[in-house]
Subunit: 172 residues, 2 copies
DNA sequence: TACAAATATTTTGTGTACAAATTATTTGAA
DNA sequence: TTCAAATAATTTGTACACAAAATATTTGTA
């Protein structure tokens, strides 16, 4: 259906003398394709396990971290609290999560897994990571390391600009 | 508001002896944060130019590629056609794009920029790329190259699994 | 020629994803 | 003590993002 193979080969054919501007455009494309692949994987997870990628990710986070507040969950997942609120709604409806009000502070909502939720996490794949995970597993530790440090560099570049809006529009 | 700086530093503190599984989890986090940074940037663009990141990206694509069909536009943007259909709807309402039916094949819809659309692209930043672009510009060509090839590797790993679903669940 | 299969786009329905507004509760200062 | 500010979570409104179904048109074939 998609001519992905062709596109990948086109990417590989680029020489190392490719100029910076073009490389940057390619980087954006790569990121876009990674997001798309993650979303497509989410569909597969939905068909097999009845929950979406983000939902499985939330379950997995609670499984790993233990009981969490909404704020903690959203910070751990790097998602806006209102987004997480909706995800938790759907997981609660499905019977995988429970909300309980905090005892000492009644503003706080504590999220915990039900028995069914725990079971699902144990038999399910590693959330959205699944596909990427199995790909990365096949690489050497060194290769994984290089990919990680590259991504960290990109993250720093993007997040640093939050604090340095002044320098945002530099000269061409 | 966000404690992003702290998180970045935590990432940097990791030693190279970090095991593969942890590194992979970090890679997922990095991707997630890149995604979030792009979306936050989209908000800024919206406030300044009245169009969202994806909308500006679509305009820019038509600007660069010239008149396009919906199919061509969606393939170029790596987005589902139904998604692009909605984005084009909103840009048409705002008067930046026009739809025209194909002459030889009346199923095809041709997308082209209006005068206002052209003007906006010329004065606007480089769509979602903007923030990343300015960050990457500050690196050496070699560094940019390493980041690109890492991302390409990730893309290939994820997309290859579309065709090789058989090997999907390998042993631990 | 007739009409089924293929193709291009839109519509429908679900689920993120965010900001801004709202609600409920707690904390701190006059 | 009182009540405004701060905090935690939810609700509301907009815009992606996708698959599946529907619509319109063209192509190929009997």
């Amino acid at each position: 259906m998609q001519s992905i193979k062709g596109l990948v080969l086109k990417g590989l054919a680029m020489s190392s003398s490719m100029n910076k501007k073009k490389t940057i455009a390619e980087i954006m494309h790569s990121l876009r394709r990674i997001f798309k692949a993650i979303q497509q994987y989410s569909e597969e997870v939905l068909k097999e396990f009845g929950v979406t990628g983000p939902q499985l990710w939330a379950l997995r986070t609670v499984y790993v971290e233990g009981q969490l507040s909404m704020g903690e969950l959203s910070r751990t997942m790097y998602l806006h609290m209102s987004t997480v609120s909706g995800v938790v709604d759907r997981l609660e409806e499905k019977g995988y999560l429970e909300r309980t009000r905090g005892v000492s502070d009644r503003r706080v909502v504590k999220i915990s897994l039900t028995k069914a939720g725990k079971k699902l996490v144990q038999r399910g794949p590693e959330a959205a990571q699944g596909r990427l995970l199995h790909g990365l597993e096949s690489l050497s530790p060194k290769e994984v390391q290089v990919i990680w440090s590259s991504l960290e560099k990109v993250v720093r570049l993007m997040e640093i600009q939050d604090t340095k809006a002044t320098f945002f529009f530099s000269e061409e």
